[in-house]
Amino acid sequence: MSTGEQKHLWTALAFVSPWLVGFAVFTIYPIAASLYYSFCDYDVLSRPLWVGLLNYRDMVTDDVYWKSLSNTLVFSAISLPLGLCFALALALLLNRPVASRGLFRAIFYLPSLVPAVAAGAVWLWILNTRNGLINEALTWLGIHRPPQWLDDPNWTKPGLALVAIWGCGNTVVILLAALQGVPRALLEAATIDGASAWRRLWHVVLPAISPVIYFNFIVGVIGALQTFATVFVMFTNGGPDRSAEFYAVYLYENAFEFRQMGYACAMAWVLFLLTLALTWLASRTTRGFVHYSVD
């Protein structure tokens, strides 16, 4: 490297240094520190004490930890496929040439603009056992004892899944954009060959938008594992029988309420590894269903 090039390199580095410094101080350092603290008994206020793998070992025997993990996985298993199917159905409907299409798109997108805390407060009333909108409708349909969404441990997660599905406007918009990118020539060719609407959807549309569905699925897995705000607002102390104690909520409680920051850091690292593993698994299992370059 010549002297001039070296000088340019230093100038360039100096110019990007604000970002580099920020990245090092606000991202790299906290990540490294959290890894270190995960091996410590650390309460934020006093100095960390090295305890080796104790936090990780404690996780194995912590019943609430396992409950929070299972709640999060069950919720993800309910809300993710249902949310994707619902979003896809909506996107397909909104892709039809219907009157006031723009208005409908805006209406379905609106819930995703509602802050999670406000959504949680509103859904507390919508899911109210006695006077809630949903149970009023179910009673009107003749169901004598509709679900106790907020009080029955078996119904809290389906209730939260409803909230998640209600806010699927973002996914709808992304899928809608993908649907509009499906090559018209392919659809026309399929129609000429006598393919029904169902077969066109199954054999042309879905393969064509499969990378977008895959993207939403992966983002959904990561998002579902980190579900926090709505649950935090809707349920105190994890709800009935801790059925709504989610991983991220329990992590927050350990960090800021119980002041077990070391334990919370260990939980965060396990969540990171879990997310990594699930994403890898999702990409492995869905590889055969994702088609790129349909043009």
Binding site: K7, H8, W10, T11, A14, F15, S17, P18, V21, G22, D41, D43, V44, L45, S46, L49, D58, T61, D62, D63, V64, N128, T129, R130, N131, R145, Q148, D151, D152, P153, N237, G238, P240, D241, R242, F256, E257, F258, R259, Q260
Partner: protein
């Protein structure tokens, strides 16, 4: 030349970036000659206004210190983060149960030396409140406004069912009997919709569950933040004072069985339906403030909410009777208190203490108590204090807080976790998801595990910490 300019520009950008965070902690200490004491408190609304009035008096009374009040929520989390960042306020308002936790973690300054110099000590305070200020042999806080809980009842509802509105329950059995009588249900009888007392239901009608509860007498779970404290009324200990948690002791078990029996007597589904129409305690939607619950366990602060949400409510207040054999002579209560502390790392601890000492003067403490409609933790009470206090029950609460039957939650650094676990267990019993025995066994296991972790840490750092406190005493 251009290269030099580039370098200078880049260096300027970097400096700007580094300057931003440091700007946050820039000192704004002394406008004129006064030292600024930053005071963080959890209070908002009229409680904050009351303290602001005390601060204004103090700021006017001298020309060296200016106290600045800031409402912070949630104060325990924010104070912990500020203290760990080395930038805490000079004074902060915590709850009494947070003191052991903050003290053990080295977040507070011990006040003993300063208290001795100021001539303040155990003699000035009601013993039970003084004990709340102490932990592991040191004094960490002084009370701002204390409280204690009692049974509030709705006189109109008593009258409507033929009970004497000036004769609240005196025994635990009377609470139960009156509660059944005050519980009103609606049902179909001979093709007509009727409203009767729960006592008037036939055995078959109770068994069928075909009734709707429209008014309740007393519900143990409608006690706001005190659900985990019912054990005291049954003689529970909670903690042996050393290494053992006593969540599953006989007193707590009796309290949880009482909760379960209440649910099975009135019907879990019927009570769920009843509660679904209401919101939390201390809101306009609470059953008591809406005139749909005849009795509730609350503190003197409830008067502020009655005035705000239900000014026409005809209420009375009495000690909640303990279970037989627990406290037959002395009225029982649970004492709580808002506390003032000086965080470790405070920039002006001496000035903060000067204001803290000012708040403990009898005239000042009584003014704050009157403005917040509470009482004080001081032994001395002015003869006209009750007359000047707009809360008509203040004499009652002042006397109740001094009863030998007054109890406080154990001085455990993990009380908050303990309380949460007990609340979760109570909810599981309330919905009949777990038996009282199962629910409390889970609390015992979990809190003992948590406590063992805390003890393990204390065993490692305890002596070092106590040495540190001894040094800290002379700040």
């Amino acid at each position: 030349m251009v290269g030099a300019l580039n370098l200078a520009g880049a260096a300027f950008l970097s400096l700007l970036l580094l300057a931003v965070p440091s700007g946050c902690t820039a000192k704004t200490d002394t406008p004129g000659e006064r030292v600024i004491v930053n005071y963080w408190e959890k209070w908002a609304g009229f409680e904050a206004e009351a303290m602001q009035s005390i601060i204004d008096d103090f700021n006017r009374s001298q020309n060296r210190i200016e106290v600045r009040f800031l409402t912070i929520s949630p104060i325990d989390v924010k104070l912990m983060l500020a203290a760990s960042g080395g930038n805490p306020p000079d004074l902060a308002g915590l709850w009494e149960y947070s003191i052991p936790d903050f003290a053990e973690k080295g977040a507070l300054l011990p006040l003993d030396d300063e208290l001795a110099n100021a001539g303040l000590g155990a003699d000035h305070y009601v013993p039970v409140y003084w004990e709340l200020c102490r932990h592991r042999g040191f004094t960490w806080a002084l009370p701002s406004t204390p409280g204690c809980v009692a049974l509030f009842y709705n006189k109109r509802l008593f009258r409507e069912v033929g009970l004497d509105p000036d004769r609240p329950p005196r025994t635990f059995a009377e609470v139960e009997a009156m509660s059944r009588r005050l519980t009103r249900v609606e049902l179909e009888r001979n093709g007509r919709r009727v409203r009767v007392s729960f006592d008037e239901l036939t055995a078959a009608e109770r068994k069928s569950g075909r009734y709707t509860i429209v008014q309740v007498g007393h519900l143990p779970y409608d006690a706001g933040m005190f659900v985990s404290a019912w054990g005291f009324w049954f003689g529970a200990k909670y903690y042996d004072g050393d290494r053992r948690i006593l969540a599953d002791d006989a007193g707590n078990l009796a309290a949880f069985r009482w909760l379960r029996d209440t649910m099975t007597t009135y019907g879990v589904d019927q009570l769920k339906d009843f509660n679904a129409s209401f919101g939390q305690s201390q809101t306009a939607q609470s059953p008591f403030l809406a005139g749909k619950a005849a009795m509730v366990m609350q503190g003197p602060w409830l008067l502020n909410f009655i005035e705000k949400y239900s000014p026409d409510l005809e209420w009375g207040v009495a000690p909640f009777p303990a279970a037989p054999g627990v406290s037959d002579h002395a009225p029982m209560t649970l004492v709580v208190s808002d506390m003032l502390v000086i965080p470790r790392g405070a920039k002006h601890p001496h000035e903060a203490f000067e204001f803290l000492r000012y708040t403990q003067r009898q005239d000042v403490a009584e003014k704050l108590a009157i403005l917040q409609r509470k009482f004080t933790a001081l032994r001395e009470v002015s003869p006209d204090f009750a007359a000047r206090n707009p809360n008509p029950a203040i004499g009652f609460f002042t006397a109740l807080s001094r009863s030998p039957g007054a109890r406080a939650v154990p001085r455990l650094s993990i009380w908050r976790d303990y309380d949460i676990e007990m609340t979760v267990a109570a909810m599981n019993v309330r919905y009949l998801i777990k038996t009282p025995e199962q629910a409390l066994a889970e609390v015992q296991k979990r809190i003992q595990w948590r406590f063992d972790r805390v003890r393990r840490r204390w065993d490692l750092v305890g002596s070092e910490r106590i040495a540190e406190w001894r040094e800290d005493e002379h700040w």
